[in-house]
């Protein structure tokens, strides 16, 4: 990388080779340590999810499961039909919500950057306003349950989070950086607004779109709060909410043990860890998929200059 700046006169080939090795080695070591720091917690979680609670409490966490067993998973997956159903709900809202939300947010953001759009300031203010103020929990609840009648529907898990103000502004920044001349050229060549947007603006903004798309996907996948407010039918529980209730009910049972007659005794800590493993699984696939767009986006940007 720094070959060009060093002259062969100043250092012999031998020392150069050596210092390069040391430098490379240091960087590699650093990156190795960094990846381990990211990876090890997951290994610990995975190991703990296969351990017994007693071994965790008495001997602590470790990198390998102690008293290997699958009790925690059996406990969480006792109703496997429900777990599958919940995965389906989560996948559905993520695959519908994220692209749809991205499309709407991109269209809004793009319109806000077009200089000949008369109300762009008003729209920008409207979007910005929602970032500062919200209607509050109870009014939103009344709106959604009583006026929109969205309680216990799939739509309530998708619609309220389609557009996020902050992300619209991120996209606007991306679109604003596109050279005006490019869009003018497209228009002169006879491209309409739709074609300009989808064939010129979108391909040139993939990093921004990928970022927001990933955010949106993660938001839909991780969202349990919306379900807490609006979902009572178990058939519509997303996976995160299902796991949340299973694990929380476990804690609650302890509190209730005073009154409840016979207690069901769940493996608390391993089940918590198993929940993490089950919850992160599928969304991991989103990262490599989206990463493609980051890389290409950077290249497109460099060619443009």
């Amino acid at each position: 990388m720094s070959n060009a700046t060093r002259t062969p006169k100043m250092r012999s080939a031998n020392t150069y080779w050596l210092s390069n090795l040391v430098g490379q080695g240091a960087i590699n070591l650093f990156l190795l340590a960094l990846s381990l720091a990211c990876l090890l917690p997951f290994v610990v979680i995975l190991a703990a999810s296969f351990s017994t609670e007693n071994s965790i409490v008495n001997q602590g966490y470790s990198l390998l499961p102690k008293d290997f067993n699958t009790l925690a998973y059996q406990y969480l997956l006792v109703d496997s039909a429900q777990v599958l159903q919940s995965y389906l709900v989560s996948v559905t809202i993520t695959t519908i919500g994220a692209p749809l939300g991205l499309l709407i947010m991109a269209l809004v953001a793009y319109a806000m950057t077009r200089k000949h759009f008369q109300y762009r300031k008003a729209v920008a203010f409207y979007i910005f306003f929602t970032m500062l103020f919200s209607g509050g929990l109870v009014p939103s609840y009344i709106l959604i349950t009583q006026y929109l009648q969205l309680k216990d529907t799939l739509a309530v898990l998708i619609v309220p989070s389609l557009v996020v103000g902050g992300w619209v502004l991120i996209l606007r920044t991306y679109f604003r950086d596109l050279p005006e001349e490019l869009l003018d050229a497209a228009r002169i060549d006879g491209s309409g607004e739709w074609r300009t947007f989808f064939q010129i603006v979108v391909p040139l903004s993939t990093p921004g779109l990928a970022t927001v798309g990933l955010f949106s996907m993660l938001m839909y996948w991780n969202d349990w709060f919306t379900s807490l407010l609006y979902i009572e039918k178990t058939a519509l529980f997303p996976i995160q909410y299902l796991l949340y209730t299973i694990v929380n009910n476990m804690d609650f049972l302890d509190l209730l043990s005073q009154q409840a007659g016979v207690r069901v005794d769940p493996p608390r800590i391993p089940a918590r860890m198993a929940m993490v493993v089950l919850a992160i699984g599928p969304i991991l696939l989103a990262y490599p998929f989206v990463q493609r767009y980051f890389v290409r986006g950077i290249r497109v940007g460099s060619l443009k200059e």
Binding site: E53, N54, V57, N58, Y75, V78, D79, Q82, T92, T95, I96, G97, P99, L100, L103, L137, V138, Y141, I142, T145, Q146, L148, Q149, L150, K151, D152, T153, L154, A155, I158, V159, F198, Q199, V202, P203, L228, L229, E232, T234, Y244, T245, I246, N248, N249, D251, F252, L253, D254, L256, S257, Q258, Q259, A260, G261, V262, R263, V264, D265, R268, I269
Partner: protein, 509 residues
């Protein structure tokens, strides 16, 4: 070279995908939403007349709720002419969901309400619950007479009752419980134990005879293992962590716990035990306590030893237990722990009260809610004694209907026993309830609003001194420190406010 080509393809694809996704999402999002919304509106509308909409907590969502709902509705139709719509909500989210419903004035008929979830006193204050004092006496006379007047008093706010009480164990039943293996090994004889100090020789023997990781007295870092207020006759008042009253004094005034000599004496006694090593080197983390208990890592623990507790502990830990109650029983706010209230939005209040009468007096109906349908969710093990069990092949985990919370629905003393060793426990519990001495402040509800900030601050300070009650502090230093910090945060003002409200409450009685 291949790049632009790829880009073109993906651009085209992107358009295609977007189009498909848009069409699909349009169909998926709109199509199911519309009929469901209508359906929702229809059920809400119909529920007001046909079925009582009933919300309560549950430990899991059971498949067969609909089956039970149908059976219960059929039963109720014959008796009182309405059906029921069961809406179990997870415990973890119950309180939050109910608060939202109440704030939004959502329509429903009945809900579980208590002093620990879906807060009863808040609901009364916010006008969520209907005053049912008169209608209970008129339409649910058996229930009204079955619950003793002292208990109704604890559900009263400004002389009015806003919820029906589900009878269960109300008293603290405080005392030590021990894994039987240690009691036998070190010759613990309950006949000789009349106060906690009498346990000292036993603890000493355990400490000397067992490995270091077995505590003579189990304790955790959240204060479990401390001696409960009832033991030294301190009653809770005002929902604060530090205000106490003398339970034996009819005209008791609230005072901070550091001025209550029996508490200070208790702390000294506990400190002595801790110095002797009975509590071990350090308290366990609260999260580990249950696991430690299951592996018998303590020889005794202070807790609520209600009738049948030995069988219950055995079912949790799978070894034998022995226990004794060592404190006088008082009736404090126990009854307010399990109640069912009627929502003000209901159009069917009378039917709700009639339902309370049915569910608290009719064993068949009540046990249907608690355990499900006979031969499907449970079978008789011993019909004469009222003992039931799970059908073959059904376990507590995979049962399609097993809420395991009989106190949720009504009078627990009407429940079938799930364990032969518990037979007779209900009668014994009822006796304890009835013999309990009412606390001098039963029914007094402290309005925290004027001192909310002070209470929150003192609460946070008390949290830091949680293990004061298990002797893990240098008492001579920690107690004055705690006193000073609490006083600086306005403890005197809080006590003054409690006593002011207490006086006007007494005057109005």
């Amino acid at each position: 070279m291949s790049d632009p080509k790829m880009a073109r393809i993906s651009r085209r694809n992107f358009l295609k995908w977007t189009g498909t996704a848009l069409a699909a999402s349009g169909l998926a999002a709109c199509a199911p939403a519309a009929p469901q919304a209508q359906q929702g509106a229809a059920t809400t509308g119909a529920a007001a007349t046909d079925a009582l909409v009933y919300y309560y907590g549950t430990r899991a969502n059971f498949k067969d709720v609909a089956v039970v709902q149908e059976a219960v509705s059929k039963f109720l139709m014959d008796k009182i002419g309405v059906g029921i719509q069961l809406n179990p909500l997870d415990w973890s989210t119950y309180s939050d969901k109910m608060q939202l419903k109440n704030a939004a004035s959502e329509k429903y008929d009945m809900a579980f309400t208590a002093n620990w979830t879906n807060d009863y006193y808040n609901n009364v204050k916010n006008g969520t619950l209907l005053d049912i004092t008169d209608s209970l006496q008129k339409l649910a006379p058996t229930l009204w007479k079955d619950v003793n007047p002292g208990a109704w008093d604890s559900a009263r706010v400004q002389k009015k009752v806003y919820a029906a009480i589900n009878q269960q164990t109300w008293t603290a039943n405080f005392g030590p419980r021990c894994p039987k293996q240690y009691a036998d090994k070190y010759g613990l004889d309950w006949d000789k134990i009349n106060k906690l100090e009498d346990m000292e020789p036993f603890w000493e023997a355990v400490k000397n005879g067992e490995p270091a990781d077995v505590k003579a007295i189990g304790c955790d870092d959240k204060g479990s293992g401390a001696i409960w207020g009832v033991y030294y006759k301190a009653g809770v008042i005002g929902g604060s962590s530090f205000g106490v009253i003398n339970l034996d004094d009819k005209d008791a005034k609230a005072m901070p716990d550091w001025e209550f000599q029996p508490w200070v004496d208790t702390l000294k006694m506990v400190k002595k035990w801790n110095d002797a090593g009975y509590y071990g080197k350090e308290p366990w983390p609260a999260a580990d306590f249950a696991a430690k208990e299951r592996s018998a890592k303590y020889a005794s623990h202070f807790h609520n030893n209600k009738p049948g507790v030995e069988a219950e502990m055995k079912s949790i830990t799978s070894f034998d237990w022995t226990a004794k109650i060592l404190a006088k029983n008082y009736l404090e706010n126990g009854p307010a722990a399990t109640m069912t209230g009627v929502n003000k939005q209901t159009t069917n209040a009378d039917a709700c009260i009639k339902y309370f009468e049915q569910v608290n007096t009719d064993k068949d109906l009540y046990n249907m809610l608690c355990y499900g349908i006979e031969n499907k969710h449970w079978v008789w093990k011993d019909k004469e004694k009222g003992v039931i069990g799970l059908p073959d092949g059904v376990t507590a985990e995979n049962s399609p209907y097993n809420p395991n919370s009989d106190w949720m629905f009504g009078n627990q003393f009407n429940a079938y026993y799930t364990d032969p060793s518990k037979v007779g426990a209900w009668e014994a519990t009822r006796k304890l309830n009835e013999e309990a001495t009412p606390s001098p402040v039963v029914g007094f509800v402290f309005d925290q609003t004027p001192v909310k900030t002070e209470l929150a601050q003192i609460q946070a300070i008390s949290e830091e001194y949680k293990t004061l009650g298990t002797g893990f502090f240098d008492l001579d230093q920690a107690l004055p420190e705690y006193t000073k910090r609490a006083k600086d945060s306005g403890a005197d003002k809080v006590i003054e406010e409690i006593n002011k409200q207490l006086d006007s409450w007494r005057a109005s009685k």
